[in-house]
Symmetry: C2
Subunit: 153 residues, 2 copies
DNA sequence: CGGCGTTGCATTAGCCTCTAATGTAATCCC
DNA sequence: GGGATTACATTAGAGGCTAATGCAACGCCG
């Protein structure tokens, strides 16, 4: 291993560890603030999960890193808006299956469209190489997030 | 302009616009959840701003995208913890200058150290090329965030 | 099959942080 | 100098979360 490369990697690691939390927070806040739909971060996360299929209350709580009562209340809110529905789990009388309604899928698409519009506008100024770098970075972040989420705590 | 490149760029733009909000939210939540220090996202942002120098209440409100009363309350909390201090602005009797104390700088360093530890652990599994891509992506995100923040609304 | 610990969700009370509306004092400008 | 403006504080209220608790269904072991 060449010394020069090691130093470069180490410097980049520090830079990333320093900057990534801040950038992630800033971006997250920008998206939440600019959206005309009033959807909280956890609500958006739940809608995305439900797009993959029905989930139990406690499953959602685990996936979104909040407590089970928080999901119960959140599902109540989404149910009031007609975006999700509760149904009985045939295999377990205690459990509840939450699933996305058609209106919920529409809402999710509208939310995505807003984010897309917001980003496309700014990304028009990016060069091709930069776009490609960002695309690769998203993939890497994806794995990073998966690893961090699998951590015991 | 070659058609192939245009298609590639367009595909990547869609991919980024789709994934970036989600990844940013997920990362932001992970950092906030895993930190042992109870510091809200806005509090962390304010501490980082103050590291660059004293700010007025309303300046902080503009930079952190929250209302002025929210910053007044937030500065009260940080003041109670001994992390910031208020002082009079010599050039304007109405204004208040908020500045970081030594304890505040320490707290910020501890917070950064936690994030660093959390990320370094996982990033050990990344390849050199991936680290470099992430480092470049952070720079690009930085410009993107700056552009988005400068938007009227 | 009967009883008991466990599991899954709902409910309640309370906290934290934000916004909106308003108040107060200092400043600017004609 | 006086009215409009600016900078911050205060208050009331809402949203979203946690912790503690309750209740019903499940599963297992004797």
């Amino acid at each position: 291993m060449k010394p020069g490369e090691t130093t470069l990697r180490s410097r980049h690691l520090d830079e990333i560890a320093e900057a990534l939390p801040q950038r992630a927070s800033a971006l997250s806040q920008i998206f939440l603030t600019r959206s005309t739909m009033s959807v909280s971060r956890t609500e958006a996360g739940v809608l995305r999960r439900l797009e993959e299929g029905p989930r139990r209350i406690s499953e959602l709580a685990g996936e979104e890193q909040v407590t089970q009562p928080a999901i119960t209340l959140l599902v109540n809110r989404l149910e009031d808006r007609g975006w999700v529905q509760r149904s009985a789990d045939p295999s377990d009388g205690r459990a509840v299956l939450v699933s996305l309604t058609g209106a919920g899928a529409d809402a999710l698409h509208r939310l995505r469209a807003e984010y897309r519009a917001l980003l496309h506008e700014e990304m028009a100024t990016l060069q091709d190489g930069e776009v490609e770098t960002l695309a690769e970075a998203v993939q890497i972040l994806d794995r990073l997030i998966a690893q961090l989420s699998d951590r015991p705590r």
